[in-house]
């Protein structure tokens, strides 16, 4: 095996300094009174991790937040040093990291000057940069803006330039950290294409992500980290299942096989099935709680949920912060609501209501949200868009079929949201075994 990255019993130890201060004053005070003394908590970000990565391999590092994935990436990039053990990489291999795109750009400098500065930081000489400068600019598609100070760039342009530099530098080892969490669909598409291109050229890729689909698309091998320990190393599909089981110990979707479509087809035949609805309400609770729901948030719950799920919501949130609504009419009646909601939940809304009602529900709920609020909705992707052809009525009005199956295409939902001033995104990595997925709708800032 032609090893390019080798971790030998790597451990990384961070000291979390509570009451920490780099001021001398506080250090002197600490000598006198215990109240000012800093207490040091030891934290092992990585424990005895050993693995080898061969040339041309694409490895996905998966794990919860704080499991040590990013730390491991930074150890490979030599930004941090292991506390013990050794992290070795192939001699003379060029490592390019897309850990934080565009960091290190200076806002006052133009795009061109930033490109030269950034490549110099990666150790290129001016001549080497001259040779690839044209490629970087054309790759980024920013020809017209390259001589504009970068402070005038949009965040998307910022990232495009950062990505273009990292891509054109043609590294031997590419480190990617949650790159799909940012950027528009177009940008993400481009990332995937570039990464696939690198794979074809036999480059080595280490990829950190929460998004199961992205990991599956890029990697053949997955390493699961849990609390700093390497708990799984092997095939990507097995790894993702292992990770899923880790996230939901004893959960219902742990045992569900990958055959999503079969389960979906079986449920489609009985759309009114209560089991499916309850299932998705409980599932949503987990997802939303995972996305950072706070007990102080005010939640508007709109849909049919099982009493036990409602109880979970009530017990999680502070008193009077949970407002359940069980029919469309009460949603529309919310116009006079004085308090705004942080989070709105709509389970099983879209597949089971006529299109007009869906559009009006979205509009009503978005209006009741705080400016930084979130609206989560389960959504059943239309397996066949042909089922959803617009119908032109004899009187010339265009409408959509309200007879089953009428699961709406994503583009249509996006249009509805746009018309009410909101943005809709799929929450990555949330495929419900029954075929549903989760959408997040946020009022446009």
């Amino acid at each position: 095996m032609n090893t390019v990255i080798e971790a030998r019993n790597v451990s990384k130890h961070f000291l979390l300094r509570h009451n920490a201060s780099v001021e001398l004053k506080v250090r002197f005070l600490g000598l006198l009174s215990p109240r000012h003394r800093q207490s040091i908590e030891e934290f092992w970000a990585l424990k005895n991790v050993s693995l080898q990565i061969a040339r041309g391999e694409a490895v996905g590092l998966i794990g919860r937040n704080g499991s040590g994935k990013s730390t491991f990436l930074k150890l490979i990039a030599a930004i941090h040093r292991p506390t013990s053990g050794r992290l070795l990489v192939a001699r003379d291999s060029r490592i390019s990291s897309m850990i934080e795109l565009g960091v290190g750009f200076h806002p006052e400098l133009t795009g061109r000057e930033n490109v030269y500065l950034n490549t110099a930081i990666h150790g290129l000489t001016r001549q080497e940069t001259d040779a690839i400068y044209g490629d970087i600019v054309s790759y980024s598609g920013l020809e017209h803006f390259i001589d504009v100070p970068i402070k005038n760039f949009s965040s998307g342009m910022y990232m495009r330039l950062g990505f273009a530099i990292a891509a054109v530098l043609a590294p031997d080892i590419l480190l990617l950290d949650e790159i799909f969490a940012v950027g528009d669909a177009d940008f993400q598409q481009r990332c995937v294409q570039t990464i696939m291109g690198f794979l074809d050229q036999g480059k080595t890729i280490v990829f950190v992500s929460h998004a199961a689909e992205a990991v599956r698309a890029i990697c053949q091998r997955a390493c699961v980290l849990n609390q700093g320990e390497l708990v799984f190393d092997g095939d990507v599909d097995e790894g993702l299942h292992f990770y899923d089981a880790l996230l939901h110990p004893g959960g219902h979707n742990q045992a569900v096989p990958a055959s999503h479509t079969a389960a979906a087809a079986q449920i489609e035949t009985q759309p009114g099935s209560d089991t499916r609805r309850e299932d998705s309400a409980a599932w949503m609770f987990d997802r939303v709680a995972q996305a950072g729901l706070q007990p102080s948030d005010r939640v508007l719950h709109f849909g049919n949920a099982d009493p036990s799920t409602i109880e979970r919501w009530r017990s999680f949130l502070e008193e009077n912060h949970y407002v359940p609504l069980f029919d469309d009419a009460s949603v529309f009646g919310l116009g006079g609501q004085t308090e705004l909601f942080d989070v709105a939940i709509a389970d099983s809304v879209f597949p089971f209501r006529p299109f007009n009602a869906v559009a009006r529900c979205i509009a009503s709920v978005v209006r009741t949200l705080k400016p930084n609020g979130r609206f989560y909705a389960t959504w059943f992707e239309n397996p066949d868009p042909a089922n959803f052809e617009p119908i032109v009525q004899p009187n010339g009005i265009t409408s959509f079929s309200d007879s089953e199956p009428y699961h709406y295409p994503f583009g249509l939902i996006a249009n509805v949201c746009e018309s009410v001033g909101a943005v809709v995104e799929r929450v990555p990595g949330t495929g419900h075994p029954a075929g549903e997925s989760l959408l997040v709708i946020s009022p446009r800032r």
Binding site: T3, V22, E23, R27, N48, R86, R91, V103, L109, G123
Partner: protein, 421 residues
């Protein structure tokens, strides 16, 4: 492949124990240094006519002084087999304590110089910390060679960073250094109408103020006072703004540190070179004007100008590296530097002449950090003579000492910068 089983044992703490010099070697090196710095202090203190009168006193007290310093070092555990990170501060504290104790013991004895004790403590501290710095650098280099042999085709990049010390990595990253300096210069003048003229205006204004104050208010009538002042003021401005800016050069670049790996020493060095570029520009404008205005004849000593420049830059880089590293650990350094610079300006012979300082204080003024360089510039251009051997000795000691200590500090601690900023 399968699920990975773990043994119960937790991660083992780093097994790499830094190699310290044996105590015998350390003690003898310190003793030799102690004797020589004490004697050199006498040589610096007295001119050649008065020196013979004091040499017997110096020779008779040197065993006591050096012995007291070694004893203090032993007492403060500077030779312990595994002292902690405070190693260097123990060394400095021991030397100062030893010098102070022997000065107290010898109070009232005739034929010795009290100033020499201060000079001895300062020079010995630089020497003792300096050789320890070189030792640490050598030990790291050797450890790297051993690693290389054991890991074959793979390398440990974080360790590889320090290869050959600061100088080699500087050369490898010269393009980055150039880019950083150019970036700062561009940003400084971008959008301003007068651009570079501002860099000239600042020293010009200071010279006007001091000239008014000294010639018209205090009534000091020195020939060519403006020229004299300019030599000191320009080089001081370079040093002062470099050290001020260098304190933030690492802590203010968090984003860069967290995403890319490169020799961290580059950042303070780029700050110094940015200020050096401006210094050169102001010198290139003012020096010819002054030489022509005062009809100063060109003489051979002026050829030494580049040598003094190199020493001055090396010294400033060393101080910048020390301050940048210290700021990572104590943010107070920034404020301390501001105060220290205000004091140091007046302990440096910029607005006054070293020759007019009372004879017994002259050594202390010469040992003020920037003095040897300022004095050297003044000797070359104003007095048009070769600088004394004492000036050279102090300048070279300061430049090499600061550079070695600064380089060793950055290399020893740069691993921890990312976690601490």
């Amino acid at each position: 492949m399968s699920v990975i089983a773990h043994d119960a044992a937790g991660p083992v703490a780093a097994a790499v124990v830094p190699v310290r010099p044996s105590w015998l070697l350390a003690v003898s090196l310190d003793a030799i240094l102690g004797v020589s710095t004490y004697m050199v202090s006498y040589w610096l203190r007295f001119d050649s006519e008065r020196l013979p009168a004091f040499l017997p006193g110096a020779w008779s007290t040197v065993p006591l002084v050096a012995g007291a310093q070694i004893l203090a070092l032993v007492a403060l555990q500077a030779y312990a087999p595994r002292p902690r990170a405070s190693w260097l501060s123990r060394v400095v504290a021991g030397i100062v304590l030893g010098a102070a104790a022997s000065a107290l013991l010898l109070r009232g004895v005739q034929g010795i110089s009290r100033m020499a004790f201060a000079a001895d403590a300062l020079l010995l501290s630089i020497g003792a910390v300096g050789w320890r710095g070189i030792w640490v650098l050598r030990a790291r280099a050797r450890a790297r060679t051993v690693t290389r042999a054991s890991v074959g085709e793979l390398v440990d990049r974080a360790e590889d960073m320090t290869l050959g010390g600061v100088v080699v990595s500087l050369y490898r990253y010269r393009s980055l250094l150039k880019s950083l300096v150019l970036k700062d210069l561009k940003l400084k003048y971008r959008g301003s109408v007068f651009g570079f003229l501002w860099s000239l205006a600042n020293p010009l204004l200071m010279i006007v103020v001091y000239t008014l104050a000294f010639t018209f208010i205090l009534g000091v009538r020195t020939e060519m006072f403006v020229f004299y002042l300019m030599l000191g003021q320009l080089s001081w401005t370079f040093f002062a703004s470099s050290t001020m800016m260098s304190t933030g050069s690492i802590v203010d670049n968090t984003a860069l540190l967290r995403t890319v790996q490169f020799p961290r020493a580059i950042l303070p060095i780029a700050t110094v070179l940015f200020n050096f570029a401006q210094y050169l520009l102001t010198v290139a404008v003012f020096l010819p004007i002054m030489l022509v205005w005062y009809r100063v004849p060109l003489v051979e000593p002026m050829l030494l100008f580049p040598v003094v420049l190199v020493l001055h830059v090396a010294f400033t880089i060393g101080i910048a590296l020390i301050l940048a590293t210290a700021t990572v650990f104590f943010r107070d350094v920034r404020h301390l530097v501001e105060v220290a610079l205000a004091v140091l300006f007046w302990t440096t012979p910029i607005v006054y002449e070293l020759g007019r300082v009372p004879e017994r204080l002259r050594l202390l003024i010469l040992l003020s950090p920037m003095s040897p360089f300022v004095v050297a510039y003044q000797k070359l251009f104003f007095f048009r003579e070769w600088p004394d051997a004492t000036v050279w000795l102090v300048a070279v000691t300061y430049a090499v000492g600061a550079f070695v200590i600064g380089g060793a500090l950055v290399l020893a601690f740069e691993d921890r910068f990312t976690e601490l900023v």
